[in-house]
């Protein structure tokens, strides 16, 4: 039951992405092309998502805990550091190059569109690469401290 409801939540998200136009790179890139073929649609996606999520979260956080879990799992850090800013900027560069972001690409894998498949495979490679580099850097730092 828990997993089925989780599946339904994913479905609502995937349907939202499909209807919104977020998974259409031409539309996404046009939103950012103020100097050219501007399409303001994506502001409506973001605006509507926030208009639902902000009051929705207020209601949810009035509860002591989630329905199926012991606690709300929110990011532990509030740090605004170089890693956050440079990482986000890097993501923006990639988004501007390809026109897909992760949340928009994942659902439309099921369309079998070759561009989505190529983008997602590349993104997963980038994800593993970055996690490997981060883990290695941490290990080397630990070794250096141990010595």
């Amino acid at each position: 039951m828990k997993l089925f409801l989780t599946y339904v939540v994913g479905l609502v998200f995937g349907l939202g992405i499909s209807i919104s136009g977020m998974a259409n790179p031409a539309k996404v890139l046009n939103f950012f092309d103020f100097a050219g073929t501007w399409d303001p649609s994506l502001a409506f996606v973001m605006g509507a998502a926030l208009l639902v999520a902000a009051p929705g979260y207020v209601l949810v956080f009035k509860r002591e805990k989630p329905v199926f879990a012991e606690n709300f799992k929110l990011p532990g850090t509030r740090l605004i550091d170089r890693k956050l800013v440079l990482g986000s900027f890097t993501f923006g560069i990639g988004w501007g190059l390809a026109g897909f972001c992760p949340g928009a690409a994942l659902p439309v894998i099921s369309t079998g569109n070759p561009s989505v498949l190529i983008f997602t495979a590349s993104m997963v490679a980038g994800l593993f690469l970055a996690r490997w580099v981060i883990a290695n850097t941490a290990r080397r730092r630990d070794l250096a401290q141990a010595n």
């Binding site: 995937g14 939202g16 992405i17 209807i19 136009g21 259409n24 879990a69 190529i118 983008f119 993104m123």
Partner: protein
């Protein structure tokens, strides 16, 4: 470049569903609906129970376009105005960026912004600036 039609109604409806899914996931399981975090935890799970809900959520996400197909008779439109090389390089850069930035449009842009997290507001403004800069460079400076 491809001209695209302004779709305020569809985009508002789609955005509202994305927001609703984020609220439902927090209400039911207490998790942030961030595609980056969900995918990373699915690919490198910390335990089998932590893996199964991510798999169920991803399966639901993949079903979204199929429901769209059954409702409208077609898959959501995917027009690609860039080269395959841009897709490959862009994908790689996105994967690295979201890992260091700890999130993407769904995690920071919707979930984090919705609870007014200063960290997510900074991240969102930063990646939007990066995207706009890249689109300007590729379309109006380099002419890619």
């Amino acid at each position: 470049m491809i001209e695209t039609e302004f779709t305020p109604l569809a985009s508002t409806l789609g955005g509202a569903l994305i927001g609703l899914a984020s609220v439902l996931l927090m209400w039911l399981r207490g998790n942030v609906f961030g595609a980056t975090g969900i995918l990373a935890g699915f690919l490198q799970p910390s335990s089998s129970t932590d893996w199964s809900w991510r798999a169920a959520l991803l399966a639901g996400m993949l079903t979204g376009p199929l429901v769209y197909l059954s409702l409208t008779g077609g898959f959501p439109e995917i027009q690609v105005p860039v080269s395959t090389l841009s897709m490959i390089v862009g994908g790689l850069i996105v994967g690295v960026g979201v890992t260091y930035g700890s999130g993407c449009t769904s995690g920071h842009g919707v979930c984090g912004m919705a609870r007014f997290s200063p960290r997510s507001i900074v991240a969102t403004l930063t990646f939007m600036a990066g995207t706009a800069l890249m689109v300007f460079l590729t379309r109006h400076v380099i002419g890619l």
